[in-house]
Structure formats: structure tokens, C-alpha cells
């Protein structure tokens, strides 16, 4: 009942924001956005009392009712229209059948594995699922904070506050609904993300075959697969962060108010999944630049900057402060000592070691980087020919290059506070997960969108056209 109420609330909200999306997209986005917003309510609820199902259900139904009453009749029909499902032209899938078939097989194995195995990975067991189970058994955040007795600080007390609550709250909702295996949530987020990525490419005027191939490249990525079959917070983070970035790009192209709000929702929610990477900083920088360029939207963008910053920088700290009486002090110490270490002990040898180490870790992404730089090269040629719109060639490289430099700088600073800094290849590769979908989306819109097709086919198309003209 709780999950269904949240899903309906999310779907209705998304229907208002992006009324033209198909029902499946609305369901997947509605799931993400609905659960993400309810997560904030549950977190506030947990500060004062155990999770109160009634409050959440009443909240969802009141908002849903308001949305239903506010939506004009014509739009109301679009919300729950099963006929839209029939518009999925299966015949089109057969065109790029091989790639889509392999993608479906991969997604099937991921779904199968997630649904059969119970929560079993170390961090998922010790942190995400434990908190979820704990909250579903009528405990509050204050109870959880009781594990942070001074003696337990080193043996796990702070551990429970090291990540925000979203994934744990998703587990808690499942348990409260009587579902014993909360991993169905990861199935929706993972398979849903792949589908939404595909739909983004299709909406960016990329033909069905290329969209199919790029989606296949994403789904078949080794690290994406390995992380998708485990119940870590990386996949939910990629879902919220990458979709937020993609919808913001879509907003830049189409300037529909709903897309901006949807994108803001997704990024704000992403800060509640993982706060370690703080990639939202790039989004905030993007908002600031957009605010300077797009004068009409200044107010909305400013509000966006404020809400994302509060959510990313302060929300979780305030929650921990309210429950433990102190901010996660070691985190502050960690950051400041690493920055001071980096400045005071600067050495080119260490810089070289970090670059060499990261090059080894990034080697897993060699073809992704190759694709990225070739696409950038396209832009260079286009610039020389003075024939183009450069929006996508600024937007995506900003994130991709920014993230790469950010990870390099982070690793360099990290190397001064942790002696095992060069033994965390898997963590680096996991942290780099948002890179793959962003590069593939960039290749799609930068090279394969309808506007560029003529450019790709180059001489052949030109010759054909000229011969036709003759």
C-alpha cells in the first residue's frame, strides 16, 4: 500500500512535469521521483519518531488529489492511458534487433539475479539494509545514533551516518509493505535507467539503430553489469545524477519548465543517495553558467542553485547534528587535512604517481575516452568549417572533463591522508560510473543526432546529393 501510494504520487507529479512522455517513462520516473521526495519526509519523520506509514500515505494521497484536481481535463487523459503502451512499436525494435536483444538478455540476467538473491553484499548488509530493517522495526534516527557511543566510534558508530538515508529508506518501505527482498527497487532503477537513457537518445533525434547500439554499449559495460547485480548505492546514484544531467540538457534544448524542475528534483534526490562524490557541484556550476547566459530563467535557476546546494551540502549534516549532537567531525578533519597535506607536501613525483595510478584505473574506460575525444575532434572540424551549433559540445565535455580532473585532484589529496590510496582501483572505477552514460549520450547527440547525419556521411552524402541535383 505504501509503495503503491508513493508510485501513484510520483507518476502524477511526473505527468504534470513531462506530460508528453509515454506511460512507461512516467512510471519509471514517477517511481524514482516519488520515492526520492518521500525519502525527505521519512528522514524528518525519523528524527522525531519511527516511520509513520499513515503520515506518508496521507501526504501522497493529498498531493495526488491536488494534482488530479489541478490538471486540465485534456491532460488528465494522458496520465493513465494504457493505449499509450500500444504505441511502443515493436516492429521498430526488430530493426536494431541484435543489440536490443543482447541488451534485454543482460537486463534479464540482472533482474533475475537481483530478485533471486537476498541482500548479501558487505556494505549493503552492514549499512543500507541494516538501517532499513532497523527503521522498519519502529526505531528512530536517535536510536541509531545510540550506537555512536564514544567507545563505538571506531567500531561502527559513525559508520551508520556515513551515507544519507535514501537507499535504506527504500529498503524500509519494502519491509513495511511486507516485501522480504527489497532488491526489486534496484531492478526498477537499473532497468528503468537503461530504458530512460534509450528514450533520451530517441528524443534527441538519434535513429533507432544508433540509439539501440549506444544503449547496448551502456548495458554491456563490464563495470555497469558488475555493480548492477549488487545492492550498492552506485546504481541509484547513476539513475538520479545522470538522468538529472540529461534532462537539464533537454531543458537547454527545449526550454520546457517541467524538464528543469524534473532535473532539479533528480539532482537533489541524488545528493541523498551518496554524498561522497559530491558531483552535484558540476551541476551547480552548470546552473550558474546558465543563469548568466539565459536571462529569462534567472529566478528559477537561482532557486535551483540554492536548493541543490542546501540539499547537497547541509541537509545530511543538519540531520546528523540533530541526532548525534555533532557533525560528522572526522569528515571535516579528513577533507581539511587532505587539502593541507596536498598543499604542504606538494611534489611532482606524487603527482606523477597519481597520474600513473589513475591512468591504470581509467584504462578500463579507454574506449569510452577514445569515443569522447574523437567526438570532441568532430567538434573541432565543425568549428573549422564554421557550420555549427556547439551547445552539446560544451555541455557534456564540461561534465566529463570536469569529473576526470575532479577525480584526479581528489586522488592526489586522498594520497596524503591514506596510505592505501593506490589500492582502491575498484572504488575509482565505481565512482567513475556516471562517466560511461554521459560519454555515450554525448556521442549520440554530438555525432549521431539528425542535425549531424549529413556531416557524418560527409562526402558520400554530398556527392549523392550533388549527383541528384545534376
Amino acid at each position: 500500500m505504501l509503495s503503491i501510494s508513493i508510485l501513484i504520487f510520483g507518476c502524477l507529479l511526473v505527468s504534470v512535469l513531462v506530460p508528453k512522455y509515454n506511460i512507461l517513462e512516467k512510471l519509471i520516473l514517477g517511481f524514482g521521483v516519488g520515492f526520492g521526495i518521500v525519502n525527505f519526509i521519512i528522514t524528518i519523520n525519523l528524527v522525531f519518531s519511527p516511520i509513520n506509514k499513515l503520515i506518508i500515505i496521507v501526504f501522497c494521497w493529498i498531493i495526488s488529489l491536488i494534482i488530479i484536481l489541478k490538471i486540465p481535463r485534456t491532460k488528465k487523459r494522458n496520465i493513465i492511458n494504457p493505449c499509450l503502451l500500444l504505441k511502443l512499436n515493436l516492429n521498430k525494435y526488430l530493426i536494431s534487433s541484435l543489440f536490443i536483444l543482447v541488451t534485454i538478455i543482460i537486463e534479464f540476467v540482472i533482474t533475475f539475479s537481483l530478485l533471486v538473491w537476498p541482500v548479501n553484499m558487505w556494505d549493503a548488509v552492514a549499512l543500507y539494509d541494516f538501517r532499513g530493517r532497523y527503521f522498519s522495526q519502529e526505531h528512530t534516527l536517535t536510536d541509531l545514533a545510540s550506537y555512536s557511543k564514544p567507545a563505538q566510534l571506531k567500531s561502527g558508530g559513525l559508520y551508520y551516518f556515513s551515507y544519507p538515508l535514501l537507499t535504506s529508506n527504500l529498503h524500509a518501505i519494502s519491509y513495511l509493505d511486507g516485501i522480504n527482498n527489497p532488491k526489486w527497487v534496484y531492478v526498477v532503477l537499473n532497468v528503468g535507467f537503461i530504458y530512460l537513457f534509450y528514450k533520451f537518445l530517441r528524443r534527441s533525434k538519434i535513429n533507432i539503430s544508433v540509439s539501440g547500439i549506444l544503449t547496448f554499449l551502456l548495458a554491456s559495460s563490464y563495470y555497469f553489469f558488475k555493480i548492477s547485480i549488487i545492492e550498492y548505492s552506485n546504481v541509484p546514484y547513476v539513475y538520479y545524477f545522470v538522468l538529472g544531467v540529461l534532462y537539464f540538457y533537454e531543458w537547454l534544448s527545449k526550454r520546457r519548465k517541467g524538464l528543469l524542475i524534473l532535473s532539479l528534483f533528480l539532482i537533489i534526490i541524488s545528493t541523498q543517495v551518496r554524498n561522497l562524490e559530491s558531483l552535484y557541484i558540476f551541476y551547480v556550476l552548470g546552473l550558474i553558467v546558465s543563469m548568466l547566459v539565459i536571462k529569462k530563467e534567472r529566478l528559477r535557476l537561482l532557486l535551483g542553485i540554492i536548493t541543490v546546494t542546501i540539499s547537497g551540502q547541509f541537509w545530511w549534516k543538519i540531520i546528523t547534528l540533530m541526532n548525534k549532537g555533532f557533525i560528522y567531525a572526522s569528515e571535516q578533519d579528513y577533507i581539511s587535512s587532505s587539502i593541507m597535506g596536498g598543499i604542504n607536501n606538494f611534489s611532482f613525483i606524487r603527482v606523477w604517481e597519481v597520474v600513473y595510478y589513475l591512468a591504470r584505473s581509467f584504462w578500463a574506460y579507454k574506449w569510452i575516452y577514445a569515443l569522447f575525444f574523437i567526438t570532441l575532434g568532430f567538434w573541432g572540424i565543425k568549428l573549422l568549417k564554421k557550420s555549427v551549433n556547439t551547445k552539446e559540445h560544451v555541455y557534456f565535455p564540461f561534465y566529463i572533463l570536469g569529473m576526470s580532473v575532479y577525480f584526479m585532484l581528489g586522488t592526489y589529496l586522498f594520497s596524503f591522508v591514506n596510505t592505501s590510496w593506490n589500492q582502491v582501483d575498484i572504488s575509482v572505477q565505481r565512482a567513475m560510473m556516471p562517466l560511461t552514460p554521459l560519454v555515450l549520450a554525448y556521442v549520440g547527440v554530438g555525432v549521431f543526432s539528425d542535425n549531424n547525419i549529413k556531416f557524418i556521411f560527409g562526402d558520400a552524402t554530398d556527392k549523392k546529393n550533388s549527383s541528384n541535383n545534376k
Partner: protein
């Protein structure tokens, strides 16, 4: 000057091209059948990269001239076309054998490092693509097929056999269209195409084994109980946790080791808490910060490992102190009736259990 380079290459390229392909093959076969790394200059500079780089002059050449467009009988083309399916089949078969047995099975049984075979496949395809700029015999319009004649009578119903043949025809057409598409690609598009192809192959080659093994392992556990599944994932540790859970009440206070050396799992309070909640878990640090030790009701028992170096933590086991006990239960081996626990007793070596301090 730049224009002279292709002219120079035109003269010798055909031979150089075949030679680079053959040298690459020799390197890869050595890497596959002798031992991986035999030809590597450095761990980060594999032969694969070198052979790809060796093709750059070829691309400069084709970008400037139509040299290959007039050569249908290129030797390298034939070699690559013949070897690609053979090596790819080998790769898939070995991949299947590996995934249906255990990790590194192929290497330990046949002494073949089959993972390197994918590089031969990739190189062959790389050569094939670059040569596909040669005009291939593309049938732009397929001849009309008389489905009625081709249909095998009495084997399939008419409708099905016609449909199958139509699909086949469509398939052949799409292969032809693919080659037409390749003809049309410009040099810069070819680069993107090659990258996508390499990425697809890398993804598939990396994914085949984990994908199949994940599916097979999961399939084996469909319908099994939660305990059986967790037992598979966590091994003996999960059974040990079940043993502790079954032998303690929910209000028990359990003394456990710190997270050091051999006790990474038994010492992790957060992991123990997941399996043993709501039991209270206490370690030395808690006792030091005034946790009332007299409330402790149980202690984990991890017997000494006699093979560990003298004086080391595993050699002493846990707990490393003499205790007055109510009883000691050994995991998978019944109970020991005693009133005192001594850490150096041979009774517990290599065993795990639960010390009951008070009931």
C-alpha cells in the same frame, strides 16, 4: 611533402600490411599459448596497442588515396576473413568451458590463456573493417526467390517456411546494407565506428563469462531458502552466525574480538549486528570505556591456529584470557562440559564456538 607519404606507401604497403597482420598474429598466439605477457614491453603497453598503432600509416594512406579501392584480392583481407570466425569460435567455446567449470579452468587444464584470443579476433576485425573500404561485391537488389520451390514440403507448414525464408532474405539484405553503409563512411566516421566496435567487443568479451556464470549460479538457487542462499554467499561464516543466533537469546550481550588480522569478519561489529540483532555486541574498546563487563553473557570462541607464527594473534585465538564459564558449545561439534576456559588449550584449536559465561 604530406602527399608524398601515401605515394611511398602505395608502393610497398601491400606487403607491409600483410606483414604487420602476420606479426600481430604471432605475438597474440604466443600470448595465448605460451604465457600471457611474453611479448609485452610493459604491463601498460600491450602488444594489442602496438599493432593498432602500426595501422596508423595505413589509415593515412587510405585517407589520401583510393589505393585499396582497386584491390579486391588483398592477401591480408583473405587471411583476416578466414581467421576471424575460427578464432572467435575458439574464444566462445573456451569461454563457455571456463564459465561452466571454474575460474581459470581453461588455463589450468589446457595451458591456454584463452582471454588473449579476443585480441586476435579484434585485430582481424580491425583489418577487415579497414579493408572493407575496398569495394565488396554488394548485391544491392536481391534476386527474386521463389519461396514455393524452396519450401520443404511436409516439414513445415507453408506460412512458417515462407516467413522463415523472408526473414533470411531480410537478414542477407541487411548484411549487404551494412557493407553499403561502410562504403559510405568517411575517415572520421570510421574512427567512431571502430571505437564503438572495439568497445562492443571488449564489453562482450568481458561480459560473457560473468553473465553466464551469474545466470547459472542464480538458476541453481531458484526456490532455495534464505539460509541456503546466504550460506552460498557468506560461506561458513553465515552458518556460524546462525549457530550463535540459535544458541543465544535476544537479550544476550556477546563479547567479540576487535577488527584485527584474522578476525576481519568476526571482529566487525556492524556485520555481526546485522546477523545477530537485537543482541548487544561488546568488544575490548567498549569495556575500556566503562561498559559493565559483568553484564556480558556470551563470548565468541575462535580457536587457536597452530600453523600460525608463535605469538601471533591467530596462534592465541580469541578470547585470549582465562574465563570462568558455564559451558562451551563448539560449532558443528557438540558441547564441552567445563567450568574454565583457557586460551592455550588444544581442545579448541582450529575450531569455532560459543562460550556461555552465564545463563
Amino acid at each position: 611533402m604530406l602527399n608524398l607519404i601515401p605515394v611511398y606507401f602505395n608502393k610497398y604497403y601491400k606487403r607491409v600490411y600483410v606483414l604487420t597482420l602476420l606479426i600481430s598474429y604471432i605475438f597474440y598466439l604466443g600470448e595465448t599459448f605460451i604465457h600471457p605477457g611474453i611479448f609485452r614491453l610493459n604491463e601498460n603497453i600491450p602488444i594489442f596497442l602496438i599493432s593498432v598503432l602500426s595501422l596508423i600509416p595505413h589509415f593515412i594512406n587510405t585517407a589520401h588515396t583510393n589505393y585499396f579501392k582497386s584491390n579486391n584480392n588483398n592477401v591480408a583481407n583473405i587471411i583476416a576473413a578466414v581467421t576471424t570466425p575460427i578464432f572467435f569460435s575458439f574464444y566462445l567455446i573456451f569461454g563457455y568451458i571456463e564459465s561452466s567449470n571454474y575460474s581459470n579452468y581453461v588455463f589450468s587444464t589446457y595451458h591456454v590463456y584463452y582471454q588473449n584470443m579476443i585480441f586476435i579476433v579484434l585485430t582481424s576485425i580491425f583489418y577487415l573493417i579497414s579493408i572493407s573500404r575496398v569495394k565488396l561485391p554488394v548485391i544491392k537488389k536481391l534476386p527474386h526467390i521463389n519461396y514455393e520451390k524452396l519450401r520443404i514440403k511436409f516439414t513445415f507448414p507453408k506460412a512458417i517456411s515462407i516467413r522463415v525464408l523472408k526473414i533470411l532474405n531480410k537478414g542477407i539484405n541487411s548484411i549487404n546494407l551494412f557493407f553499403i553503409y561502410l562504403h559510405k563512411l568517411s575517415f572520421r566516421s570510421l574512427l567512431i565506428f571502430i571505437c564503438i566496435l572495439f568497445l562492443s567487443f571488449e564489453n562482450i568479451s568481458n561480459l560473457i563469462s560473468p553473465l553466464t556464470s551469474e545466470f547459472v549460479n542464480t538458476w541453481k538457487y531458484v526456490g532455495k531458502s534464505y539460509d541456503e542462499k546466504m550460506g552460498f554467499k557468506w560461506g561458513a561464516f553465515y552458518s556460524y552466525m546462525l549457530f550463535i543466533k540459535n544458541n543465544t537469546t535476544e537479550d544476550s550481550v556477546i563479547y567479540h574480538p576487535a577488527v584485527v588480522g584474522p578476525f576481519l569478519w568476526e571482529g566487525s561489529q556492524v556485520v555481526l549486528r546485522y546477523f545477530l540483532y537485537p543482541r548487544i555486541l561488546v568488544n575490548d574498546e567498549d569495556i575500556k570505556s566503562d561498559y559493565p563487563s559483568e553484564t556480558i553473557t556470551h563470548a565468541l570462541l575462535i580457536g587457536p591456529n597452530e600453523l600460525a607464527p608463535e605469538g601471533s594473534i591467530p596462534r592465541r585465538g580469541f578470547p585470549d584470557l582465562t574465563l570462568n564459564v558455564s559451558a562451551i558449545k563448539i560449532f558443528n561439534a557438540g558441547s564441552i562440559k567445563t567450568n574454565i576456559y583457557t586460551p592455550d588449550s588444544n581442545l579448541y584449536s582450529g575450531k569455532k564456538g560459543l562460550i556461555i559465561l552465564r545463563k
